[in-house]
């Protein structure tokens, strides 16, 4: 039974949010709680953290009480492969956009993702990457005059 409880998604999320709420309350007090008639900067964070901790406790109690009655083995399935690649690509985009420049990084980003998901047709991926880069550069940089990072060559 104890093992089943740890497999319950609600139990896991409840524990994490309870800990988060408690830590948040602790740091809120350090900010300065003030008094009830003159609340300080830590007042609202403390109240919010306390609310989250209380609600997490209620959720945990619900899970624990229901697990005594019903042995729940519900599991959440993750498919981390694609998710991690997409998130990693976005972070890499953020790391290099200012040093390498918008055009090159955008082209590589779009081309890679189109290729990665379809897993065939480099030509198609390159074509989509080139069109997406040209359109987004024209729209955001040329027309809307956003200051996108230019480093490679003079304008790109």
């Amino acid at each position: 039974m104890g093992k089943d409880r740890y497999q319950m998604p609600d139990f896991r999320s409840g524990v994490i949010l309870l800990l988060f709420g408690i830590v948040f309350c602790f740091f809120s007090i350090r900010l300065g709680f003030g008094s009830i008639s003159a609340p300080g900067p830590g007042f609202m964070p403390f109240v919010s953290g306390l609310l989250l901790s209380f609600l997490s406790l209620v959720l945990l109690l619900q899970v624990l009480l229901s697990s005594v009655l019903v042995s729940c083995k519900e599991k959440i399935k993750f498919s981390f492969g694609k998710v991690c690649v997409v998130l990693g690509s976005m972070l890499v985009y953020g790391v290099f956009i200012e040093s390498i420049g918008f055009v090159f990084v955008t082209f590589v980003f779009v081309t890679f993702l189109v290729w990665f998901v379809e897993l065939h047709g480099w030509k198609k991926a390159v074509l989509v990457g080139a069109i997406a880069t040209a359109v987004s550069f024209t729209l955001f940089d040329v027309i809307l005059k956003n200051q996108l990072p230019h480093t490679v060559f003079r304008y790109f």
Binding site: G49, F78, K82, F109, V114, L148
Partner: protein, 497 residues
């Protein structure tokens, strides 16, 4: 006549073009599954920095009500709602398409949306000034109680566990605390990151929670969706279709409009309740689920009326009633417009200009939707493998261009992961977004109220308006514990997008 002034503001080629662009973008957002109006408005918000405030709000508002029109296309032809408010349209709309009646289904959805959209704009025109006058008597305790009630209604109407929805709201309040304290200027939870001193940006937060997380979830499943191949020649509903749909359209309009005004309710809830009402009052309830046109007319009308009604609390009280309005509030404030009771006097061109644009926008949408349905269907055939990198790219550019800093990209990715995990663990993002936006306002009003009352919490209960609002909040929270209410809540749809 203030509306005539509104038309003089709006009837400028530049503003008409923005209204048209907003309607087109809204329709595209509604048609394409995977990008709802909340994320789309957040995505396009940085672009509007280059425009004047009236044009910007006309564009953003057009996206919202435009998405309500577009959502029916995917719901009817693919059984996939383009946005949450069209979930119930899939039930009978898709059945009608399978029976070769996609044309009348799409037609009645568009006409119903037009009627509801236009009537709800009239409602905004007449009710907003009345509510704004009433709100002039509001002080900090009233605003605090009203915001508490709005959040409670949203949580009450959220699908799934109410405790989890409340936890989402609590996390939203916590995130709303990040940044410099407005009274003491003390930095709170900024971890030395300069970008966080001005608080977490609503654009990266919303794009992460709604846009990025949706893409991550979609990537895990099958990305191939089948579009029903059907003749779309007879788009005009016949006389019998009109007879069957007239009352559902009328009921959907009234119901949707008032549910839209209610803080916390929204278009998805309105369409769901409209479907339930139509099924209940129908002489042939067994037809529902097998291609009943009433099951398309009612909900599609209700979601458009609700999208109009939602502007009332935003314009007259300065309080967003759903996540889309929360993003729009962020947009208004970025443009230096403070919505609230004084908006109509201080910035009449914004209020009346947007109202006038809505009248014209609804006509544009009717014209756009019916003859161009073939084009929207073609758009649906763009492979998701091509579409999703483009959506991601626009999210990245949108996040970056807000302040021209890479930190916003990282914040967006962080909230993308958070939104993904929230969906996996069945936590709704809508209460989080609304609490995040309302949090700083609630904090200010709470602190001011406590200072006024010298620390007595009774101030929220002893003042008549505040006391009434607080009582409604408490009643809602207590009633949610009743088994009958819990059963009803379990049937509610998600109001995510």
């Amino acid at each position: 006549m203030d509306i005539i002034y509104g038309f003089t503001v709006f009837l400028d080629p530049y503003k008409i073009m923005f209204c048209f662009l907003g309607c087109v973008m809204g329709t595209v957002v509604g048609v394409l599954p995977g990008l709802g109006p909340t994320a789309a408005i957040a995505l396009l918000l940085p672009i509007t920095f280059h425009f004047d405030s009236v044009s910007a709000i006309i564009l953003l508002a057009g996206i919202y009500y435009g998405a309500m029109y577009g959502g029916s296309t995917t719901a009817i032809l693919m059984s996939i709602p383009g946005e949450a408010a069209s979930v119930v349209t899939t039930i009978d709309g898709y059945k009608m398409a399978q029976q070769g009646r996609a044309g009348p289904a799409l037609g009645i959805a568009a006409f119903g949306s037009y009627i509801a959209g236009t009537i709800s704009v009239m409602g905004i025109m007449f009710l907003s000034p009345v509510l704004a006058r009433f709100a002039l008597s509001f002080g900090p305790p009233e605003y605090f109680s009203l915001m508490c009630m709005g959040l409670t209604i949203l949580v009450y109407l959220a699908s799934g566990s109410m405790i989890k929805a409340l936890m989402s709201a609590a996390v939203g309040l916590i995130i709303g605390c990040v940044g410099a304290d407005v009274i003491t200027n003390v930095n709170r939870f900024t971890f030395g990151i300069t970008a966080l001193v001005d608080s977490v940006g609503i654009i990266p937060l919303v794009m992460g929670l709604f846009g990025i997380s949706e893409i991550l979830i979609t990537l895990e499943g099958s990305m191939k969706k089948e579009v029903i191949s059907t003749k779309l020649r007879h788009l005009l509903p016949n006389l019998q279709d009109w007879k069957d749909s007239a009352k559902p359209i009328l009921r959907g309009t009234v119901l949707g409009f008032f549910l839209g005004i209610l803080p916390g309710a929204g278009a998805a809830i309105a369409s769901f309740i409209s479907y339930a009402v139509e099924k209940k009052v129908s002489a042939h309830p067994t037809k529902f689920g097998h291609g009943a046109i009433e099951g398309v007319a009612g909900p599609e009308t209700a979601n458009n009326a609700a999208s109009g009604g939602a502007f009332i609390p935003l314009f007259s009280l300065g309080i967003p009633s759903n996540p889309v309005m929360a993003v729009l509030l962020g947009g208004l404030m970025i443009h230096g417009i403070i919505p609230g009771p004084t908006l109509m006097h201080e910035r009449p061109e914004v209020f009346w200009g947007v109202i006038a644009s809505m009248y014209v926008g609804n006509i544009m949408l009717l014209v756009l939707n019916l003859p161009l349905i073939g084009l929207w269907v073609k758009l649906l055939r763009v492979p998701y493998a091509i579409l999703f990198p483009l959506i991601l790219l626009f999210c990245l550019i949108g996040a970056y261009t807000v302040n021209n800093q890479v930190t916003d990209i990282y914040i967006m990715v962080f909230f993308g992961v958070m939104g993904y995990l929230m969906r996996k663990y069945n936590y709704e993002a809508a209460p989080l977004v609304l609490a995040f936006v309302l949090g700083p306002m609630m904090e200010n009003n709470l602190r001011q109220s406590l200072i006024i009352s010298d620390g007595s919490l009774l101030i929220f209960l002893t003042r008549p308006i505040s006391g009434t609002l607080a009582a409604v909040t408490i009643i809602l929270l207590i009633s949610s514990l009743l088994p009958k209410i819990q059963k009803k809540r379990a049937e509610l749809p998600k109001e995510e997008e």
